[in-house]
Each structure stands twice: as structure tokens, then as C-alpha cells.
């Protein structure tokens, strides 16, 4: 049995983590500014923080969701419920890969019925993770609306899905990998592009 990483972006690769190859596209400062802007956009679009629920997609989406909730508390002085949504068992490629480890799903006590759910992930790529997340949400309740916030949109969509809030649009080659590292998981805040032709 293996424990593969299954981030859409292929963002964690322990073997190459130490070497930190590739080039940095977002620094710690860029990340924090992007998140602050996303938090403002969420409040503006929602006209306040009422009925909001933030759900992070493991693993790095969880950390980002937690950060956004702290920022929302600063901006609106509101405690927005936050949880995590594991989508492993809703993926459409389960049959083509070895069994994946299942992450945690924790939904705030308030539930998601009639709430505005904001899904939070680190990288938006093919869109298949988001599709799985929408399926998973369907089994958990019926939100009034679902929105999507991502730190990086790298393109190459395979499904008609787009993000409502994007930290940075990052044109990439398919052969490249976008690696998001966050303080909570990796001890450092940065986004790098690895591989490709260069």
C-alpha cells in the first residue's frame, strides 16, 4: 500500500523539497497580500460575512482556509465557520491509481445547508479536484451557493470550472509543476514553478 500525494498540482514532493529547485513566483509577502485581497473580495461579494462557511481542501487548502478565516475576522470582526473537505473518495481516477490515503473531512457544527460555501484550494489545474469537491458537498447538504477561492490558477482546465477568487493567474506549460509550500505544512511560504523546458 502506498501513500501517494494527490494534490492536483503535484505540489508536495518530499524528495525534491530540500533542494528547492525551479524559480519562485510568489514570495511570502505576495502570498499574504493575495490572501488579504481574496478575503476582501469574499466579504465584498457576499456583502458581509453572514452565512459564510469556508471549506479547505486538504492539505494546503486547509491551511489557506484557516488563514482566510483569520483575515475575515480582522476585516469584518466576524467568526466565519471553517472546516475541511477531503475529496479522495469522490475522485474519478481512483480506478487508475493505487489506493490513496483518505484525509479528514470536518464540517462546522452549523452545517452547510443554505450557507454560502467557499471552497479553498492551493492550485486550480485540471478542475477535477473541484468537481470531486462539488460531488462531496452534495452528500453533505445543500449550500445556497458554492464559490471557489484558489491561491494559484495555472490553467489547463479539463472541465468547465473556474475560480471566483484567484490569488495569482500563472500561465504554465503542462510539463511544469507548481509547488505551493506553506508555513503550516512546510515551514516556509512560497510558490515555485518546477520542471518544464527551462
Amino acid at each position: 500500500m502506498q501513500r501517494p500525494d494527490f494534490s492536483d498540482a503535484g505540489s508536495a514532493d518530499p524528495a525534491s523539497a530540500q533542494a528547492a529547485p525551479g524559480r519562485t513566483v510568489l514570495s511570502a509577502g505576495d502570498i499574504s497580500r493575495a490572501l488579504r485581497r481574496i478575503a476582501h473580495e469574499i466579504v465584498e461579494h457576499n456583502k458581509g460575512a453572514d452565512d459564510l462557511v469556508l471549506l479547505g481542501i486538504p492539505t494546503r487548502g486547509e491551511a489557506l482556509a484557516q488563514r482566510l478565516v483569520r483575515l475575515l475576522a480582522e476585516i469584518e470582526e466576524a467568526q466565519v465557520p471553517v472546516g475541511s473537505l477531503d475529496v479522495t473518495m469522490y475522485r474519478d481516477d481512483l480506478r487508475s491509481q493505487p489506493t490513496r490515503a483518505v484525509g479528514t473531512t470536518s464540517i462546522p457544527d452549523t452545517g452547510i445547508d443554505d450557507k454560502v460555501v467557499v471552497l479553498v484550494d492551493d492550485v486550480l489545474f485540471s478542475g477535477r479536484t473541484v468537481r470531486a469537491a462539488l460531488d462531496a458537498l452534495g452528500d453533505l447538504g445543500r449550500p445556497r451557493a458554492v464559490r471557489l477561492a484558489v491561491l494559484v490558477d495555472r490553467g489547463h482546465r479539463e472541465l468547465p470550472i473556474r475560480a471566483d477568487h484567484v490569488g495569482k493567474n500563472l500561465p504554465t506549460a503542462r510539463s511544469e509543476r507548481v509547488r505551493v509550500r506553506l508555513d503550516e505544512n512546510d515551514g516556509v511560504d512560497e510558490v515555485r514553478i518546477v520542471g518544464g523546458e527551462s
Binding site: 501513500r3 477531503d86 491509481q97 490513496r100 483518505v102 479528514t104
Partner: protein, 308 residues
């Protein structure tokens, strides 16, 4: 890992991963919609040559909640009662394009034998007096939920060891997870070759329940399997209870934090008193509820991904 035939098939990492996943599956059980799309399009046959409502229905629910198509075949009323062999039954079922077989059989080793004949994934749901690995997993899961990491925890398994298939799987798995295990039974119900049990080195066994009682973190009482006993293994039920039952006095001697398990069905008043069975420290109903979650986890790990 293609099949789950014995607790010995599981490395420590495998076992921990199955238990972790079981915890997530347990959350699904508390949802309004208890359904995951993981095994959509897969077919599982529960092939039960022995009666077992509890295990069979929990495998059935587990498969259905993972969106598999589940069919139950019991020996009674099927071609088995017309004299068909295990091999023919298994091959007939497999020829229908089944992805997984869950097998309960009165002969030790039957599920292993079936893996030689068919391509489908096989789970041992109890074979003779040999093993019952998913029961061991759910016991470990239940204990772990209450006691935390089982490494270094002291567990006694008490009672009819000779006729139990639970004991062997439990012993192997608990040792894999790092628990200290003591087996306790009257001499007549102690398996004759126990000194040679090599599958799980580092366990101890004895005949005195009261001696081990005060040091335990968990005690697992086994059912006295009257239906499997042909001779007199103990003079009277009363005498068995005095020597090996979890009585009110023993309950007092058990540390407060220690938990009580029983794989069921219980003989109340024989191996366990009603007091002990209904105590707050008793995890017997938790074990039943964990059964579905653990079996979901096992089916997910065996059938959820591509074949390795």
C-alpha cells in the same frame, strides 16, 4: 495487498492506514447521506457457508455505502446444499464477473484456497477456528478510539481460546500494533500448540485471570462456544464463571481506565455478567458500530484503487 486472509497480511503501516481510513468512514456513518461513490460499478459477493447475521450484514452495509453492488449467497438453499463443492461454487460466482468475494467458511484455510482458483479479491470473514481479520481490525479500532495509540498497552484475551478464530487474528494484529498481549484460559480451553504459536512472538499466556487483571488497559472476553464443544471442557457453567468470568468482583479489580470488549454474541452470566456488559467502560456496542466503518475501510483499500 490483494486479499485480506490473515491479520499477518498487514504490516504496521497497512494496519494504521486501514484504522485511519476507518475513522473517516465512521464519520460518513453519522451523515444524513451515507453513501460514497468509491466502488461504483464493482460487485461484491458475500459467500457465507456458515450463518452469521452480524458479520454478513456489516459487510453488506459496508459495500452498499461504498456504492458497490452486493449479493449475498448463503450455503443454505443454494447449490452447496445440493452437493456442489467450494471450488465450483467459487468459480461459478467468479465467472459472473464479480470483483470481490467475502468468504465465511467452517474450514480453516478455505478463503486462501479460493484465491488459487479465482482472480477476484478475497476477504476472509472467518474461516473455521483459524482467523477473522476484520474482527481483529474492528476490535483494535474500538480500543484505539478509547485508549489512543495501542503501543505498550496491556491487553488480555480471556476465555475459550481453543474454539475462537478471533483470538489468533487479534493476537497478531495487537502485536503488530505494539500492544502487550496475554492470553488467559482454563487449561482445557488453551490451544494445545500454543507454545509454538510463532505468528505473534512476544505474547504471554496463563491460567490465572485474577493475576493479570489489575495491570490491564483492555480485557477482551471471548464467548464460550458451546456449539463447537463436543466434550466436557469444564465441570459446570458456574465453575467457569468463578474461574474465568468477568464478574462483579473482577470488575472492581480492573483499573478504572481499562475497557471491556467482547466480539459477541455474549453469553450473559457465563463469561460476562450483565453488570460488566452494560458498564460505561464496555465497548461492546461500539464494536458493532465500528464493524461497518472498518469493513468499509478494508473494501476501499482492496477494491478502491487500481490493482497493484
Amino acid at each position: 495487498m490483494k486479499h485480506l486472509l490473515s491479520a499477518a497480511n498487514l504490516s504496521r503501516d497497512d494496519a494504521l492506514q486501514i484504522l485511519d481510513t476507518a475513522a473517516q468512514m465512521h464519520d460518513v456513518q453519522r451523515r444524513e447521506v451515507k453513501k460514497l461513490p468509491v466502488l461504483r460499478g464493482r460487485t461484491i459477493v458475500n459467500l457465507f457457508f456458515e450463518d452469521s447475521t452480524r458479520t454478513r450484514s456489516s459487510f453488506e452495509i459496508a459495500g452498499k455505502w461504498l456504492s458497490a453492488d452486493v449479493i449475498n449467497v448463503s450455503a443454505k438453499g443454494s447449490s452447496v446444499s445440493k452437493g456442489e463443492s467450494l471450488r465450483d461454487t467459487a468459480m461459478t460466482v467468479a465467472a459472473m464477473g464479480v470483483d470481490g468475494l467475502v468468504i465465511r467458511h467452517h474450514a480453516s484455510g478455505a478463503p486462501l484456497q479460493v484465491t488459487q482458483w479465482v482472480d477476484a479479491m478475497v476477504v476472509n470473514a472467518g474461516d473455521g477456528t483459524h482467523e477473522h481479520p476484520t474482527q481483529a481490525l474492528l476490535d483494535a479500532y474500538t480500543m484505539q478510539q478509547r485508549l489512543g495509540d495501542l503501543a505498550g498497552k496491556r491487553v488480555a484475551i480471556v476465555g475459550d481460546l481453543t474454539h475462537s478464530r478471533v483470538v489468533r487474528s487479534n493476537l497478531i494484529l495487537l502485536r503488530t500494533l505494539g500492544a502487550d498481549v496475554t492470553l488467559v484460559a482454563p487449561p482445557t480451553l488453551m490451544p494445545s500448540g500454543i507454545a509454538n504459536w510463532s505468528a505473534a512472538e512476544g505474547f504471554s499466556y496463563g491460567y490465572d485471570f485474577d493475576e493479570v487483571l489489575p495491570d490491564l488497559d483492555a480485557v477482551m472476553m471471548l464467548r464460550v462456544q458451546k456449539e463447537r464443544m463436543s466434550g466436557g471442557y469444564f465441570p459446570t457453567p458456574r465453575e467457569y464463571t468463578v474461574g474465568y468470568g468477568l464478574t462483579r468482583d473482577r470488575l472492581r479489580a480492573l483499573p478504572d481506565h481499562a475497557v471491556i470488549c467482547h466480539p459477541g454474541p455474549m453469553n450473559r452470566g457465563l463469561e460476562i455478567t450483565a453488570d460488566a456488559a452494560d458498564e460505561a467502560r464496555s465497548l461492546i456496542l461500539d464494536q458493532v458500530s465500528a464493524g461497518v466503518a472498518v469493513r468499509m475501510s478494508v473494501l476501499y483499500h482492496l477494491l478502491g484503487g487500481a490493482e497493484a
